[in-house]
């Protein structure tokens, strides 16, 4: 029974490589899944994408402030609220992008960190909730993004981590656990899809930036500059992981 499952799954994998030979058209777009902890990064990124004449989609449930700042700058972006499912269903968002005649070429998500608590205070619910935001939603965003990227044989996915993604710390098991989960998922996706033209990046932000929410406008500009250079990296010279430390 296990052999059948393995064989079936290997066959399915082959199917995806075959499908990727067709190359449909459309307009490249940038999708930012925004959260309050990184709103300054998301704002700078939207500005930079717009300056590069790419349509920008901003998704999230707390994006009003970013949208109005962008609108003050004369920048129009398409925005979408995520539904209240847990995790949110991201499919309608990607369908909307397709209906607009666009496809995602760059997708960015920095999952929000949770408040540090002692190991013994963690409950099944708090662990599952932290995981849903950080890991499970990232699985869904990546899967939906790949559906648009694979047929075109190109696309960049940038997922945000923190120092704690690589090294667990005291009184921070919720973040250490769920962020390491995201990191290994990103590695697996990179190894599965790099050869199909999909660039997956895990950007490790300094814990001080993520936890204490100390991203100044200057820091945000710097981070976004790096993100954009990663997006523009040549296919022969891709970064999968880098850190951005203070």
């Amino acid at each position: 029974m296990i052999i059948e499952k393995v064989a079936k799954n290997l066959f399915k994998n082959a199917k995806y490589s075959v499908e990727s030979h067709t190359k449909p058209t459309g307009t490249k777009a940038v999708l930012i899944v925004s959260s309050p902890s990184t709103s300054r990064i998301d704002y700078e990124l939207a500005k930079l994408a717009a300056a590069n004449s790419l349509p920008v989609y901003l998704a999230g449930n707390d994006i009003g402030e970013v949208i109005s700042k962008l609108s003050d700058d004369g920048i129009r972006v398409s925005s979408a609220a995520l539904d209240n499912e847990n995790p949110p269903n991201v499919k309608p968002l990607f369908q909307q992008i397709e209906r607009d005649g666009c496809y995602v070429d760059l997708v960015i998500y920095n999952p929000p960190p949770v408040e540090p608590v002692g190991f013994l205070e963690i409950t099944e619910k708090s662990m599952m909730d932290a995981w849903t935001d950080s890991c499970l939603l990232s699985f869904y965003i990546a899967q939906a993004a790949l559906e648009q990227m694979l047929p075109r044989g190109r696309g960049t996915l940038i997922l945000g981590g923190a120092s704690t993604s690589r090294r667990g710390e005291a009184n921070n098991a919720l973040n250490s656990t769920t962020k390491a989960g995201l990191r290994l998922m990103a590695q697996s996706v990179a190894r599965e899809f790099s050869s199909k033209g999909i660039h997956v990046v895990h950007a490790v932000l300094d814990d001080k930036l993520v936890v204490e929410n100390s991203i100044t406008p200057e820091i945000a500009v710097g981070i976004v500059k790096t993100y954009w250079e990663l997006y523009e990296q040549h296919i022969t010279t891709w970064t999968h992981e880098l850190d951005l430390v203070l």
Binding site: I2, L136, F139, R167, S176, L184, M185, E192
Partner: protein
Amino acid sequence: MNKRVAIIVGVGARQGIGGAVAIKAAQQGLHVYVVGRTQSKLDLIVDQISSFGGSASVCIADCTKQSDINAVFDNAMAAGAQLELVVYNVGRNMPAPFLEHDQRIIEDNWKRCVIGGLFVGQQAVKHFLEQQPLANGKRGTIIYTGASASMRGNPMFSGFASAKGALRGMVQSMQSEFNKDGIHVAHIVIDGVINGELVKSVKGLGKLALRMKGEDGALLPDEIAKAFWMVHDQQQAPWTHELDLRPFKEKF
């Protein structure tokens, strides 16, 4: 004096990590609670332990249920135990393309590796903190079984690698939090095919995997168990937080 106790969570066949570690702990004089899902398999382990004069009890539990895990510890501690060693050895890696990872696959991996590991770790820490230190100054050892996937996300293993990497992060966080209390939390990374019951149960493919690895190309459960015991037997300072185990010819 209370009896010295080990709780081994994730025991199946005798020729598997859980089974081998249970036997090893019993040989070293601990009363072993063998925790798993299949009564008939656990009975075999307990029978073998009895056959050499050791003592062990069977606990049927679903490690993803908090009430099951609490019951295992309550049951063990009610009998007046000095808890020494807790092992968490749960997880199953099944390859699947990333785009075929539905919520069930992602969540099953997460619950087996992380949620179960959380429940067991919390119970172990609580009981260790409540009891007097052991003779060597340690309060006790918690060992988690890791895999190559804990360190590296390979294609076709996104769900398993994500959960295993997360478990490693949790273990590191526990180490940094409970080192000072004398609780030894360790992560043992198995990097290779295990020449045990599981690979043999996957008839043609398992045999093929073993043959491709060649002579002495796969890890033996009883040898793995020796490493688990070595870590548990370490005194405080210096002790090991993480070590890997792989056959001499395994590429890494």
